[in-house]
Symmetry: C2
Subunit: 174 residues, 2 copies
Amino acid sequence: MIPPNFTRRIPEGEDRERLVCNDCGYIAYENPKIVVGSVVSDEGRILLCRRAIEPRRGYWTLPAGYMEMGETTEEGARREAWEEARARLAFDGILAIYSIARIGQVQIIYRARLAEPGYSPGPESLDVRFFAWGDIPWDDLAFPSVRWALRAWAEGETAIAGNPPRDPRGMDGL
Amino acid sequence: MIPPNFTRRIPEGEDRERLVCNDCGYIAYENPKIVVGSVVSDEGRILLCRRAIEPRRGYWTLPAGYMEMGETTEEGARREAWEEARARLAFDGILAIYSIARIGQVQIIYRARLAEPGYSPGPESLDVRFFAWGDIPWDDLAFPSVRWALRAWAEGETAIAGNPPRDPRGMDGL
Ligand SMILES: [Zn+2]
Ligand SMILES: [Zn+2]
């Protein structure tokens, strides 16, 4: 993922390696990225999207994606639910925050409901469905954090869930 | 803040403007950055650091700073408390999450205590002190979010505080 003309080295006045452009000295700071998403429930059923894009095409995930500049975390979660599931959300607070250090992600997951009826696959989804708890396709979930968030939701966690104890850096099973 | 040889334009296959290097076409994605910090309390008093660096040199702030790659949010908050206050922390969960959309920040603020005695100014601090609530230098706080976090702490909020109602984008008074 390093652009061809960048080198990893310690710039003057810094204390750790950065990506520096060989041509112009531009420092491409690598910062952890924020993923915002939602566990959307309706009478105990959960909204999942089947991914139309890589990675993990064909697997089921929560409506979630990278937060963009200029939006709040809630606005980001709202936008992603529209882009992926054509769903308009109302939020009931934050369910969980997961740090996935190896890939430089922090996931902020909301509890949500449909603010108005209707949902359908957006361009990044093959299918969008509400699943009863017993019907959730556990073996076909796209990412471990989808499983964590579903479990946190089912346990009615009111505090913030951190990463599962066995998996402090968010890597297990990825 | 645009590097000299970058232009803001819409790259092929994207739907919004990005910073693109005129020399090599490298796209410098601008993502919201994560600030991790702590309200560290000890018998009702709160730890504040007087900033030795710009912006807001001389003003008081919480131990907090940008999360780095390869760490979890908690590890980041721990590192910042060491760098700025030479304090070793124990955490009691997340106090608040603030989106400061205009400057592209998401702040994740922990409730914390000293895990071991001792604290002193690190290289980025002029002074580090525990303040009783009535002695907090409200007019000399570095950032509005410091005030928000202190208020959230005092109100004993167990849920996550969002941005104050008057200030949904985190801009008031900055
Ligand atoms: Zn360059
Ligand atoms: Zn370049």
